[in-house]
């Protein structure tokens, strides 16, 4: 229940913040949510859960935070609606520091920020209708208005006919739809998604992500999501940060991070999505060339759509395509090719150099006879 106490935890002395001053700077104006030097240390733990987080999240974008479990994603997300109290630094929403908010302002802020959860967190003793209605009820919204709003949102998530059912009778995907309806009932400007699809099967995940993208487009709200699955980031995010041990290790447009990952952690997280060698070939790979005319096996990550004949010519020798594919991420084509090159006049090092002209990232996977 550590977060529960955030409501009444002593507020750290806020540094003086001048809204007028920053409002004049356009690059700051863009940011819907801004983290400045954010850090979080839990009492009794030496290693901080978050440190030195500087980040701008733009209005209307779908922003992804990815990392392995324990990387601090959850803590970072929860500082946005102050379910988590930062130890250092500030969180600005629309240029306003939220640290000094008292309970009234915090409640008002939270009504502008919807949140959905991995395990849905629906009230088991309430029907679908009552679950979606609850945020309006506690805000003192009149009954007629509540009914209009709940009906509208249940329509939006496609659960209008299930309104009298209890959550236990729903599938995981349906529960998350109720969660989404509940999160949107106050017409929030920000939606926080805490591993919202991690408990769902791939098909349901796809439909929930589609719904989130649709909501983002239609309602124009800013979506911040955390996940440990790169596929989720690839499917709906525009920008992403990679967190590791409470620090940002990589950030940028999703297609850039996917096309040319710079950090080992990013590569590890990307591994499940990468083109794999056929098992038979994998088994015959050698670290060193065994004979003079052994083939080099290369993996190339391509950005855009390069002309392959020229690329093959450039590498020299006989080039074979072993495995490959192209994906479109945020309107940017990203290709991955696994090639074997035999009888080239270039040695392995030179081949690598040559391939780098074409690809964002190149790796020698090994040699085959």
């Amino acid at each position: 229940m550590a977060q529960a106490s955030a409501l009444r935890a002593p507020v750290p002395p806020a540094e003086p913040f001048k809204a007028e001053e920053t409002a004049l700077r356009p690059e700051v104006n863009q940011a819907h949510i801004r983290f400045i030097g954010l850090g979080k240390t839990y009492p009794g733990q030496g290693q901080p859960a978050l440190q030195g987080i500087d980040l701008n999240i733009r209005r209307g974008e779908i922003f992804g935070i990815i990392g392995r479990s324990g990387a601090g994603k959850s803590s970072l997300l929860r500082t946005i609606n102050r379910l988590e109290q930062p130890s250092q630094g500030r969180v600005l929403i629309d240029q306003v520091d939220i640290a000094p908010f008292d309970e009234d302002r915090l409640v008002a802020l939270r009504r502008r920020i919807g949140m959905i959860f991995q395990h849905f967190n629906l009230m088991s003793a309430k029907t679908v209708w009552q679950n979606v209605e609850l945020p309006l009820k506690v805000a003192g919204v009149a009954k007629a208005e509540r009914q209009r709003k709940v009906r509208e949102l249940l329509e939006l998530v496609g659960l209008a006919e299930k309104h009298q059912v209890y959550p236990a009778q729903l599938s995981g995907g349906q529960k998350q739809r109720v969660g989404i309806a509940r999160a949107l009932v106050h017409d929030p400007e920000i939606l926080l998604c805490d591993e919202a699809t991690s408990a769902l099967d791939p098909e349901t995940t796809a439909s929930i992500l589609e719904l989130l993208r649709d909501i983002n487009r239609r309602l124009g709200l800013t979506v911040v999501l955390i996940t440990h699955e790169m596929a989720v980031i690839r499917d709906i995010c525009q920008r992403v940060v990679v967190l590791e041990r409470g620090e940002i290790v990589e950030q940028g447009e999703v297609w850039q991070v996917f096309g040319a990952p710079r950090h080992d952690i990013t590569r590890t997280l990307l591994a499940p999505l990468q083109t794999k060698l056929p098992a038979a070939l994998q088994a015959s790979l050698r670290a060193q060339p065994v004979s003079r005319d052994a083939a080099v096996v290369l993996r190339l990550d391509l950005v855009g759509e390069p002309e392959l004949s020229t690329l093959f010519n450039d590498l020299g020798g006989r080039v074979r395509l072993l495995q490959g594919g192209v994906e479109t991420i945020g309107e940017q084509a990203l290709g991955q090719l696994i090639l074997s090159v035999r009888g080239s006049s270039l040695d392995t090092h030179q081949l690598l150099e040559r391939a780098r002209r074409w690809a964002a990232d190149v790796e020698v996977l090994g040699h085959v006879d």
Binding site: M1, A2, Q3, A4, S5, L7, R8, N81, L83, E103, V107, A108, R110, R111, I113, G114, M115, F117, H119, N121, L122, M123, S124, A125, K126, L134, P135, K137, V138, A139, Y166, P167, A168, R182, A183, H186, L192
Partner: protein
């Protein structure tokens, strides 16, 4: 007629159990909420209050009812003006049942998934909203189950109170069954008590099941 006496005894028992359980419910639920929410990490965190309340509850729960009843005689006289009869029994019964029930209700409240509290905070619930709209409704089936146990325990204790002159079925069984060896009345009382307990248990289980939507 002894049948009238038995009916009077049943009424007395029902009165003692009814009044003391009602008070236990009204005081015990808020007490349980306070025990849970004032604990470390709770929504009304207050460790000192939590410790004091916990100690009081433990104190009363560790005294056997027979001893508690005797020890409370001066207090009982102060409250109801007598130490004899149904109303005199209500005082110690209530004082024993309230912390007992509060502890059982506390367990149910603690079992409410923390994720639900977090979701409630995220949607802009104030703290008392969380108690009213989340903690209590979610824990209700468990609280009903706990109240059933409390009722059965109270019937048990009320018979003991009867033995020192509080009236009720326990009193009849003691006087006729033990002191006069009238095994027929004794047996009738036992059958009545068993039926009463079975009825309460059945009703409580039904209600708890109906309320549980999980």
């Amino acid at each position: 007629m002894w049948i009238d006496r038995l009916l009077q005894g049943l009424l007395d028992t029902l009165l003692m159990v009814g009044v003391s359980s009602l008070v236990a419910l009204l005081v015990g639920v808020p007490m349980a909420v306070l025990l849970v929410t004032s604990d470390k990490g709770g929504i009304f965190e207050a460790p000192a209050l939590n410790r004091v309340l916990g100690a009081i509850v433990n104190l009363f729960r560790s005294i056997p009812f027979l001893i508690l009843m005797v020890a409370l005689i001066p207090f009982t006289r102060l409250v109801v003006g007598t130490t004899y009869g149904v109303w005199a029994a209500v005082v110690p019964l209530t004082i024993a049942a309230t912390p007992f029930f509060a502890r059982i209700a506390e367990v149910s409240l603690r079992e409410v998934d923390h994720g639900l509290i977090e979701a409630a905070q995220a949607m802009g619930c104030r703290r008392w909203h969380i108690v009213w709209h989340v903690l209590l409704p979610e824990a209700l089936p468990g609280i009903v189950g706990g109240f059933t146990i409390t009722l059965v325990t109270l019937i048990n204790s009320s018979a003991m109170a009867g033995a020192i002159g509080a009236g009720g079925l326990g009193d009849i069984a003691y006087r006729y069954g033990y002191q006069r060896f009238d095994s027929q009345i004794m047996l009738t009382v036992i059958v009545m008590l068993v039926a009463l307990v079975a009825l309460i248990q059945l009703g409580g289980d039904r209600l708890a099941k109906g309320l549980n939507k999980r």
